[in-house]
């Protein structure tokens, strides 16, 4: 950009070269600066590794929380213990009427995936068998149990379930509807709260990463003060002077993101087996999912981006002050 300034009044030195030559030289300089700044970091690898690790931890924390969250919502989505709605009918409803009502519910496409009518007699038989209170029940002169229609709804989303339940409750044949929706609602509420928490935490820690990189770059600028002065003295533009520091920030950020990626991977290995074992007792085979390709890419890009941003901020503040004197 501005590196290619040439003064029309100046001699053959700058202006005689073609635009194409200068463009290639510009790219070559980018390439060279990128390589040199990375090499500089690797030369003092221990100090660089510390910075990478600090950035890595800051990036890994929200990433791990994000993974926990996305696994949790997978979990609630794939819940194997399918929700069931028990619809208790009025005692005045006869078996024939009840069966007709059940049929009518079943024919309403969409809401109901399957249903079963259980007559008071069948309910009593099942209860007698399960509870072992058969003798006691036989002393009763009347069956106290109502008829039940057990519905398996198609939807598992709290809002739609609530709608279905309200509809069922409004029917005259229905005495009451029971469904434990509260736990589902709570889970969703907790998930969305946790989501906000992760976003906020991610924001804070990104700010931390910016500060770490900004401060590291500030030190680098201080260390290369003499060089910056000489470069400015012999006509280095602001963007030329800035370039190595922006690349430095980029490498810090990218290296930090890479170490975050490794940290996340290690944590998953550490956590996955116990989590899967725990969940196996509740439901079938749950597999903890790690970072996918796109998510990994996003992590690396955020690291590199934060690096460049942090360096830009530091450079803007400190580079202007350094002038040859």
């Amino acid at each position: 950009m501005t590196d290619n300034n040439s003064r029309s009044t100046s001699g053959a030195s700058v202006s005689a070269r073609s635009l194409r030559d200068r463009w290639f030289a510009y790219l070559a300089n980018h390439h060279w600066v990128a390589r040199e700044s990375l090499r500089g970091l690797l030369q003092v690898w221990l100090a660089s590794a510390m910075t990478w690790l600090v950035i890595g931890i800051a990036l890994a924390l929200p990433t791990i929380l994000y993974l926990i969250l996305s696994n949790a919502s997978n979990l609630s989505g794939d819940w194997n213990g399918k929700p069931r709605i028990s619809v208790y009918l009025q005692s005045t409803v006869s078996v024939a009427e009840g069966q007709a009502f059940a049929q009518q519910l079943g024919s309403q496409a969409g809401d109901v995936s399957s249903l079963e009518y259980i007559s008071p007699a069948a309910a009593l038989a099942e209860f007698t068998e399960r509870s072992g209170f058969g003798d006691v029940l036989q002393t009763l002169d009347r069956n106290p149990l109502p008829a039940v229609i057990v519905i398996e709804p198609t939807s598992r989303q709290a809002a739609q379930l609530q709608l279905l339940i309200a509809k069922l409750e409004s029917k005259p044949e229905v005495e009451s509807v029971s469904f434990d929706l509260v736990w589902l609602e709570r889970l969703f509420a907790i998930l969305s709260l946790a989501e906000r928490f992760v976003i906020a935490l991610g924001g804070f820690l990104s700010l931390g990463v910016l500060l770490v990189i900004g401060n590291t770059i500030r030190l680098a600028i201080e260390n290369r003060r003499a060089e910056i002065e000489v470069v400015k003295l012999v006509g280095g533009t602001d963007s030329f002077v800035r370039r190595p520091f922006l690349y430095l920030g980029f490498w810090y950020g990218l290296g930090g993101a890479l170490s975050a990626w490794v940290l996340v991977g290690l944590s998953l290995i550490f956590l996955a087996t116990p989590v899967e074992m725990l969940l196996a007792s509740y439901q079938g085979d749950f597999v903890v999912s790690g970072l996918g390709f796109n998510e990994s890419l996003l992590l690396l890009a955020s690291g590199g981006g934060l690096g460049i941003l942090g360096a830009t901020l530091a450079v803007g503040r400190h580079l202007r002050r350094i002038e040859p004197s």
Partner: protein, 231 residues
């Protein structure tokens, strides 16, 4: 061409370092700037490469009024001026080659062209065999010559030097001065601040004498070689 038109410079703290200075150095000329310590020699050179700005008056370099030059335009001005300054010497963590190559890298030359020019510049200061060395391994005079190579590598039309023979022995000082003469002979305008009066009179060039910020004498070169110019 350098032209000073009623130029005064007052630093934020302190008195006037330059007062109403007027002079003009045409293209291809070579001149010395002399005067006691604190007379304003360095200040005058700094105005030419826009390290400092004039408080009053106008400085023209190659027809550009430096008062009108914005921060963004400064690099382009500086690329056409070679400087040899005491406190902006070599970078000690880079080889001689990389030090000399710096202005070319900045100006965006291709590596091949950079190599060609750096070798030519090092050859001119007789340091061709030292390009892979680090400055720390060089003598004071050799370091000074690397600095000069860096100043001329981009073929500037103007060369400024502030005490280029500062702490060198007389033999080396003369060698350095002769280098500047050679650059002047190929058309480069040269302005050198120095208080090595013996050497300066020997060179027989135009002299600008500063005293407490004022230009008190502008003595032209004496054409008859070998004459005693009044010591």
């Amino acid at each position: 061409m350098i032209r000073f038109d009623q130029v005064s410079k007052r630093y934020a703290e302190g008195r006037e370092a330059l007062s109403r200075v007027n002079f003009e150095i045409p293209d291809g000329d070579m001149a010395f700037l002399t005067g006691h310590s604190g007379a304003g020699k360095s200040t005058l050179l700094k105005l030419i490469i826009v390290m400092e700005r004039a408080s009053q008056g106008q400085v023209f370099v190659q027809g550009t009024n430096l008062n009108r030059v914005s921060r963004r335009q400064i690099p382009a001005i500086r690329r056409d001026i070679g400087v040899v300054f005491q406190n902006h010497q070599l970078l000690f963590d880079r080889t001689v080659y990389d030090n000399v190559a710096l202005p070319l890298t900045i100006a965006g030359y291709q590596p091949r062209e950079v190599g060609r020019r750096v070798r030519a510049a090092l050859a001119k200061v007789s340091l061709s065999n030292k390009e892979k060395q680090f400055p720390i391994a060089l003598s004071g005079g050799e370091q000074q010559r690397v600095g000069i190579a860096r100043a001329v590598v981009n073929k500037p039309s103007l060369l400024l030097a502030d005490e280029p023979t500062g702490n060198l022995d007389p033999g080396l000082s003369e060698e350095i001065m002769n280098l500047f003469v050679q650059f002047n002979q190929v058309g480069v305008t040269v302005l050198i601040a120095s208080h090595d009066l013996g050497l300066i009179s020997q060179m027989n060039r135009r002299q600008l004498l500063l005293h407490e910020g004022r230009l008190v004498e502008d003595r032209p070169a004496i054409l008859t070689v070998g004459s005693d110019d009044g010591q």
